[in-house]
Symmetry: C2
Subunit: 374 residues, 2 copies
Amino acid sequence: MSAHNVVTVEVGLGERSYDILIGPGLIERAGEEIAKRLPKARVAIVTDEHLAAAGHLDRLRMALDKTSTASTTTVLAPGEKTKNFDALQQVVDDVIAARLERGDAVIALGGGVIGDLTGFAAGIVRRGMNFIQMPTSLLSQVDSSVGGKTGINSPRGKNLIGVFHQPKVVLADTGALDTLSPREFRAGYAEVAKYGLIDRPDFFAWLENNWQEVFSGGPARAEAIAQSCRAKADVVARDEFETGDRALLNLGHTFGHALEGATGYDSTRLVHGEGVAIGMALAYRFSARLNLASPDDASRVEAHLKAVGLPWRLSDIPGGLPDAETLLNFITQDKKVSRGALTFILTRGIGQSFIAKDVPASEVLAFLDLSLKR
Amino acid sequence: MSAHNVVTVEVGLGERSYDILIGPGLIERAGEEIAKRLPKARVAIVTDEHLAAAGHLDRLRMALDKTSTASTTTVLAPGEKTKNFDALQQVVDDVIAARLERGDAVIALGGGVIGDLTGFAAGIVRRGMNFIQMPTSLLSQVDSSVGGKTGINSPRGKNLIGVFHQPKVVLADTGALDTLSPREFRAGYAEVAKYGLIDRPDFFAWLENNWQEVFSGGPARAEAIAQSCRAKADVVARDEFETGDRALLNLGHTFGHALEGATGYDSTRLVHGEGVAIGMALAYRFSARLNLASPDDASRVEAHLKAVGLPWRLSDIPGGLPDAETLLNFITQDKKVSRGALTFILTRGIGQSFIAKDVPASEVLAFLDLSLKR
Ligand SMILES: NC(=O)c1ccc[n+]([C@@H]2O[C@H](COP(=O)([O-])OP(=O)(O)OC[C@H]3O[C@@H](n4cnc5c(N)ncnc54)[C@H](O)[C@@H]3O)[C@@H](O)[C@H]2O)c1
Ligand SMILES: NC(=O)c1ccc[n+]([C@@H]2O[C@H](COP(=O)([O-])OP(=O)(O)OC[C@H]3O[C@@H](n4cnc5c(N)ncnc54)[C@H](O)[C@@H]3O)[C@@H](O)[C@H]2O)c1
Ligand SMILES: [Zn+2]
Ligand SMILES: [Zn+2]
């Protein structure tokens, strides 16, 4: 593949700035792109069994061989449960055992799970190693690989443990998406739609008209990924450490994380992006109930999620859910809690989301109760 | 105790600047000092069994009660071995279970082990909680509590895993030192002498004349602690993330860490400050051997360490050491290795230390071999 198919989006963070490269064939070009930025670096690759089985790990190793880049590999079990302390310790041990030094790098080849875990490990070995994101799922290409949030889960809640650690470069090979399951592709699409729903109403309208082409591949897909990365890079550049605006990216995530917790992170029942899809539909419906947004906008969101085949209401989750009280408990252990008052991302309409502090827990409880019956 | 006995040293790090308060009675004043900086904060205290047994934990809890500061407590086993992944996970779990929020704080009450471990946990829970250092050993008051380096050990080397996470304030209660064992006090004194040996020849000469008063307590002790904190704060303010000058603080530590590793972190044989004492003596002797410093300066360092009762040569370590080759292996896994060449802190004389890159491993090996026979 030639380089002219590759789009570059810059994340502007002063001396921590980096490029996101988006396009086909980037795994094959990894050696060159890394050598350009980190001359003579040796690398430790972290990936999961699905990526190895799909042949992407071998593609990467061959690419690194071409530039004589020495590498070691850690292959982990796939799935959200891998974001735990044991796997963190394993990656940290492997990176240390590889005797990498300050100029070397740790590569995450995989979805958001591998990216979050590996970025965290890279952030704590020797108090911070060079880190390279090679996201292979749609979700990780449009979201988790950009912005430097890394981490693992606690039994008490998602992503409660981690650091901010920015990558040196993000190589998003759109060709890798061809081996992703349709379900995982859809789940990632929820985060694409999210950027429209946060503050880009035109992008959301474009998605309503073009989602079929995004799903089938081709220029519309790469365009949607680049747009999403731009949207995320904008927010991250404004607020690297999430002291303000960046919280907007959590649209759909407060409800979504609670649902992931309530289903025990069981991916046969719910994956992250599906939780986010339902969470966004709930955030819009909740905003309508609070007379902030029009019920028509909530219906429009629900209709689009439904059209692309994403779950959008609680009853779409197989296997049953606990009661509203229990769901609320999952929410209050979530991070977006400030001195006892609940913080939510609510909305005044399509592309008009905002950070709402002091949302009364009683309102959330009543709304969840109602939503469980829908 | 009244506030006029308290000396304040500022660590100038822009928006991450903080005060080190040094003096008697600071544990009793912890509630006020914390409330001043973090109004209404709740706290999670992390300490070890020795501190609890010596009554300092109760003193702190009573102090927090006076200001109605809610607290939870984690008491860990004392000793270097506690700086591991399991203890990290325990502290992280306890802090999360306490449901602390962004305005709340995690307190380390103890020596460098508790400080390093707790600071690391505070740095990764919710990607960074407020952190307060209450150092209780001499070593932690003059060194580990200042500068934001936190971490745990890997089986492959000391402090290989961690983050930079600056405290909001350091409360160094000099009264707490009264319950410290003489051996631990001496070990901490090695780091005090270190500041003189790095770049403050007058301070070293002052210590040669006044060490007895420093050991017996009183004004000379507080003076030595404040001088040490100033020396460290200076270096840290110049180079927060150890990309340059800060490495000078590792004088004695390359050898020292290797010795800690070679003795299996067994504190009955060697504690950190003792390793540093021997390491500094070796760094001076090695510099003399390389014709960088005068042998008289090496002898002067050895004589002072000996006078205060610190070990200064390899044969002072009980139980025997492995051969030079094995010791060198511990060194090359140490952090101060850049692209295969060995980096050492060497010296041109008392208070004239410098960072030496490209020290040939063969020279180190020959020197270690010689030193083992001394
Ligand atoms: N750090 C952030 O800012 C951020 C943002 C959003 C989400 N996240 C995190 O991202 C995670 C979800 O990401 P995800 O959906 O990518 O999860 P994932 O890593 O589990 O990937 C989903 C599944 O697809 C497989 N897969 C990935 N790429 C593939 C490919 N090219 N071919 C075949 N199979 C492939 C994986 O093995 C896995 O089974 C969550 O843990 C979430 O918390 C983080
Ligand atoms: N972060 C840094 O910049 C930095 C710098 C230097 C050293 N360190 C680390 O610090 C650690 C060594 O620190 P340390 O010597 O304080 O070790 P430590 O925490 O193990 O304390 C030494 C012993 O004294 C006990 N103790 C502490 N205060 C006491 C008191 N007031 N009364 C009675 N007993 C007390 C402890 O329980 C322990 O048994 C090492 O792990 C080293 O790597 C870190
Ligand atoms: Zn998400
Ligand atoms: Zn030290």
